[in-house]
């Protein structure tokens, strides 16, 4: 078996396949993809002398969840990886694939509909029925961003290494473009992600608000990273998903925490930027509840 080079794969002009957990479920039956699996440039976790990690795009979600060094250095990332999807999907799905997957809107995924996401000019969900839409206004598409790992990485101000472009902030992979779930140009390849130097004493938590016990896309999800010195919070990073077209940091909540506000008051600030449709108003309560949940868990132990 010879592995094609990244140049060859990019030249195919097709959608890339990493672990296939999104692409294969979306496009069955089809072989119209460029398979990245096995390309050596995209694999492995490397540690720098300063203690920071660089994670290859083809590293599986399960490897992130189970790697002892990652768990110690970046607990919010490892915890998020452990909490998403199912064991088989974590074993197959990759970091790169998770960041660049398409959204899970039932209208987008149903071939009977056309929408902004597949070249159309409208959103059928707006006249239709959607239990899990965005609640933070971000353009004409209502599909929440699906990537839990992107949320966790944004919580670390991580960078994405894009082939031919170098490092860009992970948050810049995303925007409110209703026609795309990420902003990489066709043919661009995410090679890996870079994390900052770990923070000693970091406490972290991840929570996924779902109806059933396991195996669901989140209604709302959040991670928090907190450092406590004495009785003061000296570092706070709160990121949320499931509520907008992109994963988001909540600087207003972080500022309140650093200013010594009680957790519930700080968490409640997450509601201020929401403008939900009546059917989705419950997600605002879930958002503040989820933020409070991760903050409480950070400070519990």
């Amino acid at each position: 078996m010879t592995t094609p080079s990244l140049d060859d794969l990019a030249a195919l002009g097709r959608e890339f396949r990493a672990g296939g957990t999104d692409l294969m479920s979306r496009t069955v039956p089809s072989r119209e993809y460029a398979d990245l699996s096995g390309t050596p440039e995209l694999t492995g976790i490397e540690w720098s002398a300063d203690g920071s990690a660089r994670i290859g795009a083809l590293t599986t979600v399960a490897e992130i969840a189970e790697d002892a060094l990652i768990r110690a250095a970046y607990p919010a990332l490892a915890g998020t990886a452990a909490g998403l999807a199912t064991p088989q999907v974590r074993a197959a799905g990759t970091v790169g694939g998770n960041l660049l997957q398409r959204n899970r809107c039932a209208y987008f995924r149903n071939p009977a509909f056309s929408c902004h996401q597949d070249g159309g000019d409208s959103c059928p969900a707006r006249a239709g029925t959607m239990l899990n839409p965005t609640v933070i206004e971000s353009g004409p598409c209502l599909a929440p961003h699906p990537s839990s790992l992107a949320m966790a990485l944004i919580g670390y101000d991580a960078t994405a290494e894009v082939r031919g472009r170098g490092a860009v902030p992970v948050r810049d992979l995303y925007g409110d473009d209703p026609g795309a779930d990420h902003l990489l140009a066709p043919g661009e390849i995410l090679v890996g992600v870079g994390l900052p130097v770990p923070v000693p004493g970091e406490r972290a938590a991840y929570h996924r608000a779902i109806g059933r016990a396991e195996a669901e896309w989140p209604l709302v999800e959040a991670t928090a990273r907190v450092v406590v010195e004495g009785d003061r919070i000296t570092l706070a990073a709160v990121a949320v998903g499931g509520v907008a077209r992109t994963p988001l940091r909540l600087p207003e909540v972080e500022a309140a925490l650093l200013a010594g506000e009680p957790l519930d008051r700080a968490a409640a600030l997450a509601a201020d930027r929401c403008s939900p449709s009546p059917d989705a108003a419950y997600k605002v309560a879930l958002l503040t509840g989820t933020v409070l949940e991760v903050l409480e868990r950070c400070l519990d132990d």
Binding site: M1, R17, G19, G20, T21, M24, S25, V28, P29, S30, R31, D35, S37, A85, T86, P87, Q88, V89, A91, A92, R104, A106, Y107, R109, N110, A112, F113, P124, A127, G128, T129, L131, A209, G211, R212, A213, E214, A215, E216, W217, L219, D279, Y282, K283, A285, L286, G289, T290, L292, E293
Partner: protein, 838 residues
């Protein structure tokens, strides 16, 4: 491409296939891995790749190149014996996937923790990528726990159902797994419009097209079958289907139940409306899209109405009213509807069919294709679940048979999960308005129920009517209405009518008890004349969880615990003409009848009776069911299989014992009449309604998380009075599965349709949410076995009674926990948050 599969190095051609699972199944004949969802959600296609469990539907064939692959067929692991011994399966379709994953988990757990039982949540997290629609999760927990303790390291599996190892090892062949020489793949072309007159159907030159339209050439829901085509591979068949152009003249569609919605039927076409009831719909009159089905008790109904109106005017505190709604629940058995049809060299029709009704399907096929019944051969050795959706001659069988004739070759038609979730069976949604009046003595003085059933284009809602059978003889008005829409047809689903009735009635009764300040079990015991259920009330009232339940609405913390009770009532049906044939073949006694095991365990019931009556070891008994060509037997619908087959088996065994087990001897046993006969003087469509009603009482404990609006069922006690239990293990599993499905109905399951186009949105198993292992409460069953002495065999069916009351027990538990009573199913987080914070 080179791979090593189950330790055998092999070279396979992957050209024709898009996913690894298809290479294993189609090239290597390893059909243990089932592509049941093709989205990586259900886990039925799980295999090990270099020791790691992976869903093979999401792997391209190349992912197996130069790898060590282990499928269920190649596994040799103690957890397989544990699954058999602890009955961690019913229909078995999901089982190979579960077992492969469980094997990897058990090894990892024992290496890290030693031979100890893992916490329940740890097992749930490890198995989160698997779904079992039968709900055999309690057995799966037990099996994995036992394997982790090292209890099955040697020896063989004791106990369990007779075909357990066949299913566990992936060798059991279901209809989806059949591949005959020269077999083609058929696909169904479905309507893109919710309501349209179909004009031309244009296919590429030379295409052999089967027309599936009704006589009036009108499609009445999006997803309705229009035509079918076949080709050598599924990929080619799909491409061919995509090339067929269908002209639609669209008509306005009724996609809601408002008055003034466009008509679904005119006076002539109403007659073709399918029925969502088991068998037939009661006659009724139409008003636009609303069809009044039945009204019970005109005179007593007027009395009830008068009493309720007077109570309303007087502001009587004994008047309890409310409207309770249910969502559409989809059967979605893990094995989709599937048929391989083949016209053999003699012109006989051979159907490998995933069916609950081998006999009825053969009769319908003989009639449709004008054949002698003896020339229709149905094979359904294993059936991957049904729950009511696989009765009679279903559309995939019609399509496959017609295609097989056109192509003069065997044709397989297996529905995709999207088709299965769109147009292969669903329990109609309902809205029930209840009014009941309790008089000063605390007795039921009047009852009024109006149910509007929404089964799409199907009619036959019979919900309110069933309230005639509970809580004494107080005057009552019970009316059922169908509201037809341009949505896919509802179908009978495990306890049709019973599930929505009890959701409404059992909460209204609970409300009446709370208003009076009376124990809800005590009030039911007073109102309910069913003596067998009295025994269940006494058992339930004595449960510590009931005695120690919190005062309703007394809790203020984030997590609130509550306990709820609900009773239920169901029919005793049977097929009086059932026979069982026994043949001695050397050392072995072979039993045959025209029935099928869809996961209920009827094979095990038959084998158990033979063992008992003939004093034979298991290896000397073989049960051959799932085929035509033998004596008549029951369909697996309406809780009638065991009550019909059991006594006939015993009769046959006793005849054989009298005549002696000589090689070649054949006897036929009959299902002798019950003492006092039946309610129905003669069998209708082969079925009789027996005397007496089965009963259940479910006590459910939940925890409500008020921060997230989630309801977690913690423990459920299920009391069932259905007389003698024929086979304890499968009976328990079926009743546990009934609880699991009831929890799905209560908390998660909801088919959603786009209100503009009528397209089903919940067309995959991520968006249509069935309970997983982590949603499964701990369950305790109690069988009250007395009270059926008049019945031949002294036991009746349990399939339906075990599920229909569960949702109301959850609703009543949520009320007990929070003081807020849910009225709408499913009890979603948004509804809980709105309810408790209002």
């Amino acid at each position: 491409m080179k791979i090593t599969v189950n330790s055998v190095p092999t070279v396979v051609d992957t050209q024709e296939h898009d996913a690894a699972v298809d290479v294993l199944r189609e090239e290597l004949g390893l059909t243990g891995a089932k592509p049941a969802c093709r989205t990586g959600v259900c886990g039925a296609c799980t295999i090990m790749v270099d020791g790691t469990p992976k869903v093979s539907c999401l792997l391209p064939p190349e992912a197996l190149e130069e790898r060590e692959v282990t499928t269920a067929e190649g596994l040799d692991h103690p957890v397989q014996r544990a699954f058999a011994a602890h009955d961690g399966l019913q229909c078995g379709y999901c089982t190979p996937g579960f077992v492969v994953e469980a094997a990897a988990f058990v090894d990892r757990w024992r290496a890290e923790h030693g031979d100890v039982t893992p916490p329940r949540e740890t097992i749930a997290a490890a198995m989160a990528g698997h779904l079992c629609r039968c709900g055999a999760y309690q057995g799966i927990y037990a099996a994995i726990g036992a394997a982790c303790r090292g209890e099955h390291d040697d020896g063989h599996a004791a106990g369990g159902r007779v075909e357990a190892m066949e299913k566990i090892s992936g060798l059991a062949r279901y209809s989806t797994d059949i591949r005959l020489p020269g077999q083609l793949e058929g696909v169904i072309i479905r309507s893109a419009a919710a309501h349209a007159l179909v004009g031309d159907v244009r296919a590429p030159e030379g295409t052999r097209l089967v027309d599936l339209l009704p006589a009036d050439r009108t499609v009445r829901y999006a997803g309705q079958p229009v035509a079918a085509v076949a080709a050598a591979t599924r990929r080619e068949a799909l491409a061919l289907a995509a090339a067929v152009q269908v002209d639609y003249t669209e008509r306005p569609a009724a996609l809601d139940d408002r008055p003034g919605a466009p008509p679904v039927y005119d006076e002539r076409s109403r007659k073709q409306a399918a029925s969502s009831a088991e068998g037939f719909a009661l006659p009724g009159g139409w008003d636009g899209n609303v069809r009044r089905t039945s009204a019970f008790g005109a005179r007593r109904g007027r009395t009830a109405k008068a009493r309720l109106e007077a109570a309303h005017r007087a502001g009587d505190p004994g008047l309890v009213t409310g409207t309770y709604t249910t969502a559409v629940q989809v059967h979605t058995p893990l094995e989709p509807h599937a048929c391989v049809a083949h016209w053999d060299e003699r012109g006989d029709l051979r159907l490998h069919l995933s069916t609950q009704t081998v006999g009825m399907a053969a009769e319908a096929a003989a009639k449709r294709w004008n054949l002698d019944l003896g020339r229709v051969h149905i094979i359904a050795d294993h059936v991957g679940g049904g729950f009511g959706a696989k009765a009679g001659l279903t559309v995939e069988a019609i399509a496959a048979t017609e295609l097989a004739r056109l192509h003069a070759a065997p044709v397989r038609v297996a529905l995709s999960r999207g088709e299965e979730l769109t147009d292969a069976g669903s329990r109609p949604g309902t809205s029930t308005r209840v009014a009941l009046l309790v008089d000063e003595a605390g007795d039921l003085a009047a009852l009024d129920l109006d149910t509007r059933g929404r089964g799409g284009v199907a009619i036959g809602s019979a919900v309110a009517l069933l309230a005639r059978l509970m809580y004494g003889t107080a005057p009552r008005r019970l009316r059922d209405f169908d509201v037809v829409t341009n949505e896919p047809p509802g179908t009978a689903f495990r306890g049709p009518g019973g599930a929505p009735l009890h959701w409404a009635l059992e909460q209204a009764v609970d409300e009446a008890a709370h208003r009076r300040g009376e124990d809800p079990i005590a009030l039911r015991r007073r109102w309910d004349g069913n003596r067998k259920r009295h025994a269940l009330y006494d058992w339930a009232a004595g449960l510590p969880v009931w005695r120690d339940r919190p005062a309703t609405g007394s809790q203020t913390g984030r997590f609130r615990r509550g306990v709820g009770v609900a009773a239920a009532n169901w029919f005793y049906f049977l097929v009086p003409g059932t026979e069982v044939e026994l043949e001695v073949q050397g050392d072995v006694v072979v039993a045959r009848t025209t029935t099928q095991d869809i996961g209920t365990g009827v094979r095990t019931v038959i084998a158990g009776i033979l063992r008992e009556e003939l004093d034979l070891p298991a290896e000397r008994i073989r049960v051959e069911i799932g085929r035509t060509g033998t004596v008549p037997g029951p369909p697996s619908i309406g809780s009638r299989t065991t009550a019909s087959v059991g006594p006939a088996t015993r009769d046959a065994a006793r005849r054989l014992r009298r005549e002696g087990l000589a090689d070649g001897r054949k006897v036929v046993g009959r299902r002798h009449r019950d003492r006092r006969g039946y309610v129905t003087p003669f069998a209708v469509a082969g079925m009789a309604v027996g005397r007496g009603f089965s009963g259940s009482v479910h006590v459910t404990e939940v925890e409500v998380d008020t921060r997230f609006g989630t309801v977690r069922p913690l423990r459920v006690w299920g009391g069932i009075s259905a007389g003698r239990i024929y086979a304890d293990g499968p009976a328990r599993s079926q009743c546990e599965g009934g609880i699991v499905q009831g929890i799905g109905y209560a908390l998660y399951e909801e088919r959603r349709i786009d209100p503009v186009t009528g397209v089903v949105l919940t067309a995959n198993l991520e968006d249509y949410r069935i309970p997983g292992i982590g949603d499964t409460p701990e369950m305790v069953l109690h069988f009250h076995q007395e009270g059926w002495e008049h019945v031949n065999g002294q036991g009746v069916g349990i399939g339906e009674i075990s599920t229909i009351g569960v949702a109301a027990s959850v609703g009543n538990a949520v009320y007990n926990a929070t003081g807020w009573r849910p009225h709408d199913l499913p009890i979603r987080p948004d509804r809980v948050l709105e309810g408790i914070h209002r």
